[in-house]
Amino acid sequence: MATYIKGAALISPQKTFGERALPDEIMAYEQVNFLQCKEPSYREFIDPMVARRMSRIVKMGVCCALKCLQDNGMTSPDAIITGTGLGCLEDTGKFLGSIYTSEEKLLNPTPFIQSTHNTVAGAIALAIKCHSYNATYTHRGFSFESALEDAILHLDENPKSNILAGAFDELTPDSYTITKRLGLWKNHPVNNLQLVGDNTRGSLPGEGVAFFLLGGEKGKDDMALLRSLRTFYNPGNYADVEREIDQLLHDQGLATKDIDLVVAGFNGNPAGDRIYYHLMKNKLKDSAFACYKHLCGEYDTSSSFALWLAATVLKKQVVPAGIRLNDQTSLPVNRVLLYNHLRGRNHALYLLEQC
């Protein structure tokens, strides 16, 4: 019934690929409308004859997964499970555009094939010739959590298994323009380091890819223990959120005093951040608070960035100054509560412990 995070890899707008913790030097982006990933060298992981067909997000996905496996000496996981809110947008846009510009004639099939949400999970399996269970979840702010819940189910079914679970979401020029029209983002460029606490409406879009190797049995070098994952949908009010936190802690035989650090999904949009401030001032006022979306931006699967961050904090026992929001003592960090919601509908609570 335990879920150990054996290893992880992250591609993000920060220098995180191949790193075991957030670098001291946090990337500051000034006057930006969005955050984009720092891409690794694909050649190291993907044969050019294979990579030639892949869009940027598929390359990042495969690279990140292979890095995670490689760093942890895993050649054949028992399951490959991914989560993505919007899938492979670049190729979707490409193919859709070509339908109209070519009036449905003589269309190149490659972008269509590469546009399906399960392309990344399929490409990973192909790269390592893995016939195991393979699934892709795509449900907004639950996409990554669904992948994790499936992974946890696998570990319940067989604690000896090793599960590769991850998430990816990309930002393309079109997706930025369209989501901007939907009113999700700031109306003006921002400095990412000043995102949280910015009182203007909207957030800052971002993107990222993260993969985790999960196991049911404790190992020597585990990053952290995921004690509990709890998702809830469309809570009516703050009391509902607090009830979920209470239930999570109660089920684990813990209380709020046992939470050393809260990593929360503040995204700079005042309406959405209110609940986090409310918890910081009330129920969880004795815990240290940290935020992360100023580092990676807002996207459906940003909690995967947060999970990497929380796990690295637990492993290294260092809480970077660049993520701190209050002055509560944070060390030693035995337990982290990660709480994120996507536009008030999809909420997730993670309870992590040092191991």
Binding site: P48, M49, R52, R53, L106, L107, N108, P109, T110
Partner: protein, 85 residues
């Protein structure tokens, strides 16, 4: 024919995104599929689209496709034999 072969090689590289290759790297007599360049079924579809888009030539069946797309030379020969005008 040589000019056409040269042109085809460039087009193939472009359409199949073979960014690591130059026209000189492609042997016009070598098989394109399975061995040689090791192209696959998706590449075959892309080449069929190329033939129709750039040369106005349609391949009627998959079997015809197999013959025509065997090598760059066989593609060039097909184009030369069937070119309109």
């Amino acid at each position: 024919m040589d000019q056409l072969i040269g042109k085809l090689k460039t087009e193939i590289i472009e359409v199949l995104n073979l960014t690591e290759l130059t026209p000189d790297d492609i042997d016009e007599n070598a098989p394109l599929f399975v061995e040689g360049l090791g192209l696959d079924s998706i590449d075959a579809l892309e080449l069929i689209v190329l033939l129709e888009k750039k040369y106005g030539l349609k391949l009627a069946t998959a079997d015809e496709g197999k013959k025509v797309l065997r090598s760059v030379r066989s593609m060039a020969e097909f184009i030369t034999e069937n070119k309109k005008g």
